[in-house]
């Protein structure tokens, strides 16, 4: 993980600021930094999104491929996650440096997103037991400035919203063999229902309080953080503690409540933004990576 050095006096300054609900950049404890979202940024994927949160930048691309369903759940498709920690983000990720973080992140994402409560996996089924859609979700970290999980989850939700899976026709020939035919029309596609896809909220315990969307400096002052995924209804679907320190049960409860509140408020503006972007259609001026 990208780390920054912070001197003792700076830490004291940050801690006292959080105690007074005024962080170094003027935010309150439950404020997010300014977030920019753009979908459909990579042309050779089925769905993609780029999210920048402060100086954190994440790119997500989703590719749909036909695969075999898992034997336990023959009538469901599934998602595969891969997180690539680019050495562009920080020189520490060079070579195999980012591998450990990448596996940790993708395991968490797998837990949060690959279940039938988040996404209707049955809609990914083509023919039970034989064929299903597998969504390969590739996350690329372009810049790290704290709060990777939240940025990633928002980007994944946006990319899932943007994903267009071609419709398939299954025809069976005389000998009982099945043939899968993809639709030629690029507009004849299936969209995913992202209503229930959760967003992750990371709460960092700093001093006696907790903050949302911590910067790297604030992260350096915190001993432990709680990561919770929240749906638009405010239901908590997953919780995980990260970091070496410990949290007492009371503060875990407090943090969960705060996370629920913040997470719930995250969905409405995100969906509104995604719909607005979609309604612009071809008129939308693509910004991409050079804007």
């Amino acid at each position: 993980m990208a780390t920054v050095q912070v001197s003792e006096a700076e830490k004291v300054y940050i801690l006292h600021g959080i105690r007074d609900d005024l962080r170094v950049d003027g935010r309150g404890c439950e404020d997010y930094r300014h977030m920019e979202i753009e979908t459909d940024v990579v042309s050779n994927t089925d769905g993609s999104a780029k999210v920048t949160l402060g100086h954190t930048a994440v790119l997500v691309g989703i590719k749909a491929e036909i695969g075999k369903p898992r034997p336990m759940v023959p009538n469901e498709g599934y998602l595969e996650f891969f997180v690539d920690c680019s050495a562009n983000a920080t020189p520490e990720f060079e070579g195999r440096g980012g591998e450990e973080l990448g596996t940790e992140l993708s395991n968490t994402l797998y837990r949060v997103f690959n279940n039938k409560h988040s996404l209707d996996l049955r809609s990914l089924c083509i023919s039970p037991g034989e064929h299903c859609w597998v969504l390969y979700v590739d996350v690329l970290l372009l810049q790290c400035d704290g709060n990777l999980y939240d940025a990633m989850s928002v980007a994944i939700k946006a990319a899932l919203f943007n994903t267009k899976i071609p419709r398939v026709n299954i025809s069976s020939d005389d000998e009982g063999g099945k043939e899968i035919e993809l639709s030629d029309d690029p507009f004849d596609c299936m969209r995913l229902d992202v209503e229930n896809v959760p967003c992750i909220v990371t709460l960092c315990k700093v001093g006696h309080r907790h903050v949302v969307d911590a910067t790297l400096q604030e992260k350096a002052c915190s001993v432990a953080s709680l990561l919770i995924s929240v749906t638009h209804k405010g239901a908590v679907t997953c919780a995980r503690k990260v970091g070496g320190g410990s949290l007492d049960p009371e503060s875990v409860f407090e943090m969960t409540e705060a996370g629920k509140r913040v997470g719930k408020a995250l969905h409405a503006p995100l969906m509104a933004l995604l719909r607005q972007e979609e309604s612009l259609g071809m008129k939308r001026h693509k910004v991409g990576f050079l804007g």
Binding site: A9, H16, D20, D25, G26, R27, Y32, M35, E36, G291
Partner: protein
Amino acid sequence: MAVDMRLPTVKSPPVSVLDRKDLVVPGDVITSDTGFMRGHGTYVDEDKLTASVAGKVQRVDKLICVRPLKTRFNGEVGDVVVGRITEVQQKRWKVETNSRLDSVLLLSSVNLPGGELRRRSAEDELTMREYLHEGDLISAEVQSVFSDGALSLHTRSLKYGKLGQGVLVQLSPSLIKRQKTHFHNLPCGASIILGNNGFVWLYPTPGQQEEEAGGFYTSLEPVSLSDREVISRLRNCLLALAAHKMLLYDTSVLYCYESSLQHQVKDVLKPEVMEEIVMLTQQKLLEQES
């Protein structure tokens, strides 16, 4: 609780920049006249002098250089820098100052508590980490430049030394305007050190009694909320000015601060607010000049 989500916008450069001949990007032909000498940031391509970095063209007699906009810090003797200790070694500290190589701060070029004429004993060498340890921030002056470009720093003045509570803002060194003094007590209630290396330190204006103890004592008393707000606002103003590539010096920072007062501190970083306050600052600076 607030979430601000939006679509990215295309940033188009102001028209005034597009027709300025002295700003170049890599590959731009500066001149095809062969009478000029090739300086830093340029190369000769088919007898044409071409820029190899993005920045401003400078001419001294027959020598043409390009000063890059985005660069590491190239220190000169006398520059004020803000840096972070990265290593404690034999008789020296290594300091990160945004230059290509870590700078060194020799034990013999710091003022130790107990007066200027104190002899440095072997004991001092052993307790170096008590004065400054890894992660600490210091302000210092460039004493000399080694042949490989590494800087040697000194803190032999009461205005330099270890930094206490405050906020560090890391910006591009080319945005800092060279001035007679880089230490300012701004009238808005905070102080600022504009390091030539692009590191800017914002801190509450110190009281009288704190300036003793040789600069190694740091107060860990909580900073008042009003000071904090001023510092946070100044920080966001600096970032806004830097985002619009404005030169940073006491007046520009102060004007920017004044223009931002109608907005909340956290809103200053929103793109449209940044643009607005930077425009206001530019206007004020122009008015002041004329």
